[in-house]
Symmetry: C2
Subunit: 224 residues, 2 copies
Amino acid sequence: MKPVVQLSFTEENYLKAIFSLSERNESFDTSTSEIADRIKTKPPTVTDMLRKLTEKKLISYEKYKRIQLTKAGKQVAILIVRKHRLWEVFLHDKLEFAWDEVHEVAEQLEHIQSEQLIQRLEKYLGFPQYDPHGDPIPSASGELNEIKRTILSEVQEGKACQVVGVKDSSTLFLQYLQQINVGIGTKIKVIEKIPFDGSLKITLKRDHQLSVSKKFCDNVLVTC
Amino acid sequence: MKPVVQLSFTEENYLKAIFSLSERNESFDTSTSEIADRIKTKPPTVTDMLRKLTEKKLISYEKYKRIQLTKAGKQVAILIVRKHRLWEVFLHDKLEFAWDEVHEVAEQLEHIQSEQLIQRLEKYLGFPQYDPHGDPIPSASGELNEIKRTILSEVQEGKACQVVGVKDSSTLFLQYLQQINVGIGTKIKVIEKIPFDGSLKITLKRDHQLSVSKKFCDNVLVTC
DNA sequence: TAATAATGTTAGATTAGTCTAAATATAAAG
DNA sequence: CTTTATATTTAGACTAATCTAACATTATTA
């Protein structure tokens, strides 16, 4: 199950980039320049690395063609995502970092090599299913337990849902959420949709009713 | 207060090695081959790095002479030690790693760059003064709060002391400690010293009396 | 104190990751 | 279906960290 070879930080970062870029389209592939943009490097550097990753059978790639992860490569990438998200939960829940402060540090922590560390961390955190942005945390075996998430704006009138994350993680937005007492796990029922401006009347915790803007609803991720 | 330049993992490791090696003698210096041994690298590699660290004014060094940290270099080294030991406390106290399992992972974690992370971690851990091996944790400003530690064998008859660490951190020894209920913070009173074999009669928690070997007493660090 | 041993440095090579400039292949547009 | 634009790769160079083999200096000891 564990990756056969020890990968460098750099290689891990490429795999993670390729993973998240390929998730964005139907064919699950990406290109040299997209990767270069993401990693903040130049295309020739990427080409070199692509050759190396092909050698290691972590991607499938032929020159001038688009790039896909192999099964092994995807496995590695998902495990990095797992580590990243678990660390984000730690930083947020335990060290009280704000939602928008966790990413940068998790970016470093995700490369720490120790099976045991991650297993124990996960246990310590109480086997969380989602990171502070509401993104799902893959299992130790690399399964990504994707759930169908939508934005609050798309929930039908009369339906109830539960907050699983946010799209915008600016301080302003997060502060507003805190103020109206909305966080991960909050149950929301959509009472009425106002077609004029797309705003919603919602209730929290069955009694408390309030009105929120379209912009708000576009940035709250929920599951029904 | 914070180091002006960003150092690589490798540079940090050299500074840490030079620090701990120079602490071992009166003149606070060390040599090329001692460093090579410690870092598990070859002397020529060390020579190159020494030149680089001299350039950056982190060590004072002339060729063929012995090596000392500058004030700046010592500051950096101590901050790495601080991070290392705080992480050790985290791994031991929170993630329930055994005393002898924490080192390797802390070795990686110590290089994570984030002032904030360390400050918050320290707070979260309750501002610990010592790591799981009883070594003192330097303050954020880099002060190493050294206390006078001795081995249990050197405590006088009739005197009481407190366990602050161990010299031997083998699993066998740690298991034995656990079995007789001795850990960091345990108060021990020396009742009698047997000159014949150097063994001690001691009491734990005033009532419970027991006898321990010289080997045991040589490996328990205490403060009086 | 001169010979020998131990320690340290130079020289030159290697690998990983990066770059710029030039060449080549694919895609887009007329 | 050519031409032009865009994307990608090759070539060649650079830095950091490492190595081995050869050379130089310092320390030891006979």
